[in-house]
């Protein structure tokens, strides 16, 4: 089985700073002084996936995405996974 590394990204154009993500997923998201999320780009361990997916699904602007990162190159895979499974 291929081990998938997921990381969170925010689309800064879509984001309006509602703040739901920081509320639901403080392990990886905190707010800047202007009310916009600062997303920690480290891989999200399995035990945090549920929180991550709830934050993604709750963003009123659909600005939050979980993307797969290829382990070897660190490059971001183009396939996005933006809804909770």
């Amino acid at each position: 089985m291929v081990k998938r590394q997921l990381t969170m990204v925010v689309d800064p154009i879509m984001c309006d700073g509602h703040g739901v993500c920081a509320e639901l997923f403080p392990e990886r998201v905190r707010m800047d002084p202007w009310g916009y999320p600062m997303v920690d780009s480290r891989d999200i361990p399995v035990q945090l996936r549920e929180h991550a997916e709830r934050a993604v699904g709750s963003c009123p602007r659909l600005a939050l995405h979980l993307i797969e990162r290829r382990q070897s190159s660190g490059r971001v895979d183009r396939k996005k996974k933006d809804l909770p499974s």
């Binding site: 800064p12 879509m14 984001c15 309006d16 002084p33 202007w34 009310g35 995405h65 993307i67």
Partner: protein, 443 residues
């Protein structure tokens, strides 16, 4: 090492001779027509060389001259065909950077090298569409150049021309694609999820390549990677066009060998160098550098990065000692704030804060709560948080100003009146906001 040459005609190309791109320019300032172009360079091997051109580009070590210095062979190789689509190739001549004029120089004086490069890209990538993306005022000239080639059948793919809006970010790769897709504003998209090379103009894989880069491609396709490597260093081969301002009475576009010491380009005595406070390298997304560091710098992107700057699009702007460097910094930051797309919250708020704080540092330092650390804190908050690299360029610019002009910063913060604050600015900021900053006057 040969001296850089501004613009004069030369013989057929020796591998180790400058100029390359600028060879064969008529001294009267006229554009090189298609007849002179073919007489000097011959026809581009659009049909024959197409198959292995990508390999040749990789072997040549050519990097993109639009500002990112990304390896061209790698970039072309990443353009894959869609299952039901062929790629689009775009020559990017938007040149939103106000201090740069090398792309305009190529488009007006040497359009056929660029058009050759675009047709070669189209052939190598089996594109279905080839587009020249140039400022409105260059459209007619470029169309005339394309017409003159059409009669000779030089371009297998019909080359289209699209007008680039007149704004700083119009040349960002995703801005280009948005304009090609019919959007009026040349603003970037978020490409963190799906890169432009996969889904660009009309959803097709899209190559956006700077016009100077394509001009180099036109020569590499003719003479090969070994010839290209006849100048420059192992890691940074070839030549580059630079726009030098502040050195002579008018900006000059020059061709220089990569790896050459910048002092050879500037031709300044140590005494004359003392008449400058420093220089802006790369452009408004580049960084300030001291004159001594600049004079010793070897002209490569790696060396520029180590000096916390960038070669960017090849701007070398000398700052005369008649102006206040903090005022210049504030003018440019205000300009960059105004030129931002205004799409991303951290960029909107961050650049507004940086514009305000750099203005305060220049004009009312007592009003700058927290001193320079407050400015650096905002830089940290802004870095990497826009959809494009526009805010990152501004933070590099601001950070470098605080280091290179630390003496002026200290004087301002001590409340010593700056004798140069009211002097007219020298860096071009072609928008009203920047002028208002100067008119705010002395404190």
């Amino acid at each position: 090492m040969r001296s850089p040459v501004a613009a004069n005609p030369g013989p057929a190309p020796e591998a180790t001779a400058l100029p390359r791109l600028l060879g064969g320019l008529p001294s009267d300032g006229a554009p090189v027509g298609i007849r002179e172009h073919l007489a000097r360079w011959g026809t581009a091997p659009v049909g024959s060389a197409a198959a292995d051109l990508v390999d040749q580009l990789s072997a040549s070590g050519l990097a993109g001259h639009g500002g990112a210095w990304f390896p061209v062979g790698t970039k072309w190789r990443s353009i894959h065909h869609g299952r039901f689509s062929r790629p689009v190739v775009v020559a990017n001549g938007a040149e939103g950077e106000p201090a740069s004029s090398k792309d305009a120089f190529l488009l007006t004086r040497l359009p056929h090298l660029v058009l050759d490069g675009l047709s070669l890209a189209g052939a190598a990538l089996q594109a279905s569409q080839a587009v020249m993306y140039v400022p409105e005022r260059r459209v007619r000239g470029v169309e005339a150049a394309i017409d003159s080639r059409r009669q000779l059948g030089l371009d297998p793919l019909e080359i289209q021309v699209r007008a680039a809006p007149d704004r700083f970010i119009a040349g960002q790769e995703s801005s280009v694609v948005n304009v090609l897709n019919g959007r009026r504003d040349a603003v970037p998209s978020f490409i963190g999820i799906e890169p432009i090379r996969d889904r660009g103009a009309n959803g097709r894989p899209t190559l956006v390549q700077n016009v100077e880069t394509l001009a180099h491609v036109a020569l590499i396709a003719r003479f090969g990677p070994t010839w290209y490597r006849g100048l420059g260093t192992e890691a940074s081969p070839g030549t580059m066009l630079a726009t030098v301002t502040g050195r002579w009475s008018a900006p000059r576009v020059m061709e220089a060998t990569l790896g050459m010491p910048v002092r050879e380009i500037l031709d300044l005595s140590p005494g004359e160098a003392g008449n400058y406070l420093g220089a802006l390298l790369g452009g408004y997304g580049g960084g300030w550098i001291t004159m001594s560091a600049l004079m010793d710098l070897r002209l490569t992107e790696d060396a520029a990065r180590r000096a916390n700057s960038s070669l960017g699009a090849g701007v070398i702007a000398l700052l005369p000692d008649t102006v206040c460097p903090l005022m210049e910094t504030a003018r440019v930051v205000s300009y960059m704030e105004e030129q931002a797309a205004g799409q991303c919250g951290p960029c909107i708020h961050g650049l507004a804060g940086l514009a305000e704080m750099t203005r305060a540092l220049a004009l009312r330092p007592a009003a700058l709560a927290g001193g320079t650390q407050a400015i650096l804190d905002v830089c940290d908050l802004v870095d990497g948080r826009g959809a494009c690299r526009h805010p990152d360029g501004v933070t590099r610019f601001v950070r470098s100003a605080l280091v290179v002009f630390s003496g002026d910063v200290a004087n301002h913060l001590r409340g010593q009146p700056c004798p140069r604050t009211g002097a007219p600015g020298v860096l071009p900021c072609p928008r009203p906001v920047a002028r208002n900053v100067v008119e705010a006057g002395r404190w």
